[in-house]
């Protein structure tokens, strides 16, 4: 009996939380594991030294981090993190939970806001909530080696009556996809993501933009799915799957990109961050042969380019006990110097938000295409998605499930459109955003 008692108390001792006494302030950073979060945290050592604090970085699996761990923490408010690395699409949700401090509480000018491209997108309820670190643009990746081939150009001219060049309109893109679709030669017009996961929505979103609509209007919350344009977008999506690599039906992010970089496909509608490894000669057969074109919109897209953008960045948790130190840390982590370091000193780099980083020679030496982005940003008109807490659910759950039913032919376009509209409407009603 005695022996068991001793063993039991040993177990209990081990279960007791180990107490830690520290003099220095510790700033805790919560983020996902991933290329751009790595690039941010690569600066933490230096910044902690500059600010004079200790830091700890918690990097958690990406899906779990943003979809379950941080929301649960926001509900429980246990004070795990001082800085939370989040995307703009989640700002509304965390502000609703009263989990974030507005940057206006601090000396916001210390960030040099004018140097940050599209800082205005982080605005919600009149205040800014995160400092953009990654700016990721949605567009079409296409093969420049095929596009610039004189024989192909001649044949394309013959077939379509106009010159083969970077797609400036939806119709041009469709013509090119059809033209380059040669399954017998192992080349497909495009590859799309098809796994039931958020990636599948990229193509649908892009096609909706091409038809001049937002899937759910970010201002009016109008659902543009079971409408003539919405149906047209779904129809075009099915059409593109007809010119797609068979791998599209199950492709997740990795499989989709792997097929494209293996040179099997002419194009891929995706985020520009695929350029980070599409141009890596170690893993890509098409390194150096990839062009990037922002989503072409109806009308004249050349004079007034528009784009769809995703941003991630660090935000300050309202549970922090050291707001001032946290703020100083945040300023340092998102400075130009940190941005350049994030691009140049990490394995895959980053697609930075700061204009001064996009124009920095050291950064450009690594990724010449950053210059194109820097040039394109001027006058870029950003399309957006609704800033409501539930939109993550629409994009991460409802759209993937029903779109995946459609592309496998289990539901017709009309059924899909009706079902999508009904489910999304229900979510908007439940969320109290529109009248039932």
């Amino acid at each position: 009996m005695k022996r068991i008692g001793i063993l039991l108390s040993l177990v209990l001792l081990l279960l007791l939380p180990a107490g830690q006494a520290q003099d220095m302030v510790t700033i805790s950073i919560g983020a996902e594991t991933g290329v751009h979060a790595d690039a941010l945290i690569a600066n933490a050592d230096r910044c902690a030294m500059e600010v004079g604090v200790d830091y700890e970085a918690h990097q958690l699996p990406p899906g779990e981090w943003i979809n379950s761990i941080l929301p649960t923490e926001a509900a429980v408010r246990s004070g795990l993190y001082d800085i939370a690395y989040i995307p703009i699409s989640k700002i509304a949700q965390f502000v609703a939970a009263d989990y974030l401090l507005p940057l206006e509480d601090f000396d916001i000018d210390a960030l040099d806001p004018d140097d940050i491209a599209f800082f205005n997108l982080t605005e919600y309820e009149g205040k800014h909530w995160l400092v953009p670190w990654l700016n990721e643009y949605q567009g079409i990746l296409y093969r420049t080696d095929l596009m610039n081939d004189p024989d192909e150009q001649a044949a394309f001219m013959e077939a379509n009556g106009y010159e083969l060049a970077a797609p400036q309109s939806m119709q041009q893109y469709f013509d090119q996809v059809a033209f380059f679709h040669r399954p017998d030669e192992g080349l497909h017009g495009n590859i799309a993501y098809g796994l039931r996961a958020a990636w599948i929505t990229i193509l649908h979103e892009a096609l909706s933009f091409m038809h001049g609509i937002e899937v759910v209007d970010h201002e009016t919350l109008e659902i543009n799915i079971n409408t003539p344009e919405g149906i047209a977008a779904l129809t075009d999506m099915m059409m593109l799957y007809g010119y797609a690599d068979p791998a599209s039906y199950t492709a997740g992010w990795v499989e989709g990109n792997a097929n494209f970089t293996a040179g099997r496909d002419f194009s891929l509608v995706t985020w520009n961050s695929v350029l980070l490894y599409g141009n890596d000669p170690d893993t890509s057969d098409v390194a150096g042969n990839i062009g990037f074109q922002l989503i072409p919109l109806p009308g004249d897209g050349v004079e007034e380019p528009e784009g769809f953008l995703s941003q991630w960045g660090p935000a300050i948790s309202s549970t922090t006990e050291h707001p001032q130190e946290t703020w100083e840390m945040l300023v340092c982590l998102t400075s130009t110097e940190s941005g350049v370091h994030g691009v140049t000193a990490t394995k895959l780099g980053n697609s930075p938000s700061r204009i001064s980083v996009l124009q920095d020679e050291r950064a450009l030496a690594r990724f010449p295409w950053l210059g194109d982005i820097a040039a394109g940003i001027q006058g870029l008109n950003i399309i957006s998605t609704p800033n409501i807490p539930e939109y993550g659910d629409v994009r991460g759950e409802v759209l993937p499930r029903l779109l995946s039913t459609m592309i496998t032919g289990e539901a017709t376009i009309e059924e899909t459109a009706a079902a999508l509209e009904a489910e999304i409407m229900q979510i908007l009603v439940d969320g109290g955003h529109v009248e039932g």
Binding site: L7, V35, Q59, L60, T72, L80, A258, S273, D282, T283
Partner: protein, 275 residues
């Protein structure tokens, strides 16, 4: 009983074995092969059936990653203490249930129920409870939970083993003046040693490979190997080479343990279930 098997019959048997092994172990081969592939070979089209030249890069990356080393330590600690805790709680309880029918079938039913709880359903309650009690990111929390989820099966199997021991053996020991605990320690445990081997494998398997709870309840300090492995899946990429290498490494100790107790594993489960 088949010593008189004909040569043809023997050949046929070996051919069948080879076929079975090929079918069942091919995915394992693929996992191992993936762990020796370079990034470029990983998702090549057509697939690379045999990685030549093989690279050790994935393994080197793993071993040079302090997070991996730390989580291996955590996993060992958590699995080890869980095993100890399960034994400490389970053996006396199972003994008492098998020998004196303490708790009766009602308790057996309750224990069944504990076995039914789907861990995924408990993630949010457990996170809230763990944070509320300051138990987040502590190895002890995982020990507590794994003990809870493992204990029912352990008791269940132990009851089966212990009730195979004839009362007379224990009675003899009691007459010689041994205490109840003495009997458990000196008589019961040695007799059910083969059973303990199989329970050990079962318990190790469940706490060593558990993912759903660990990913929610640990962050940096207490993170176990499966969660660290999962962080090779990032928003940009799946580092499949390293993930596969980590998978091979994490399975190795259990495979070795399984090989060591293989004889007992087979005999062991008998009593627990067949009885």
């Amino acid at each position: 009983m088949d010593q008189r098997m004909s040569r043809a019959n023997r050949l046929l048997t070996y051919a069948l074995w080879l076929f079975l092994l090929a079918v069942f172990l091919f995915p394992i081969y693929w996992l191992i092969a993936s762990s020796f592939k370079t990034e470029g070979q990983q998702f090549a089209i057509p697939p690379v059936w045999f990685p030549a030249p093989a690279t050790l890069e994935n393994y080197i990356n793993l071993f040079s990653d302090a997070k991996v080393i730390n989580s291996v330590k955590n996993s060992l600690l958590v699995a080890g203490i869980t095993l100890a805790a399960v034994s400490l709680l389970g053996i006396p309880a199972a003994y008492s249930m098998a020998r004196f029918r303490v708790g009766g079938s009602l308790m057996m039913l309750v224990i069944f129920t504990a076995r039914l709880l789907p861990p995924v359903a408990y993630i949010i309650p457990l996170f809230a409870i763990a944070r509320g009690l300051n138990l987040y990111d502590k190895q002890g929390t995982l020990v507590l939970l794994y003990t809870f989820f493992s204990l029912p099966l352990a008791i269940w199997m132990l009851v089966g083993f212990i009730s195979t021991i004839p009362d007379e053996i224990e009675d003899a020991a009691m007459i010689d003046g041994a205490s109840r605990l003495g009997v458990i320690w000196h008589v019961v445990l040695p007799l059910i040693r083969p059973g303990l081997a199989s329970i050990t494998i079962f318990m190790l398997l469940s706490s060593w490979n558990e993912f759903a709870l660990a990913v929610t309840l640990t962050a940096r300090n207490a993170r176990t190997l499966p969660v660290t492995m999962y962080t090779f899946v990032t928003n940009q990429n799946i580092a499949w080479g390293e993930l596969a290498a980590a998978g091979v490494l994490s399975a190795t100790p259990i495979v070795i343990a399984g090989l060591l107790v293989q004889k007992h594993l087979v005999v062991g489960l008998v009593a627990g279930s067949g009885k």
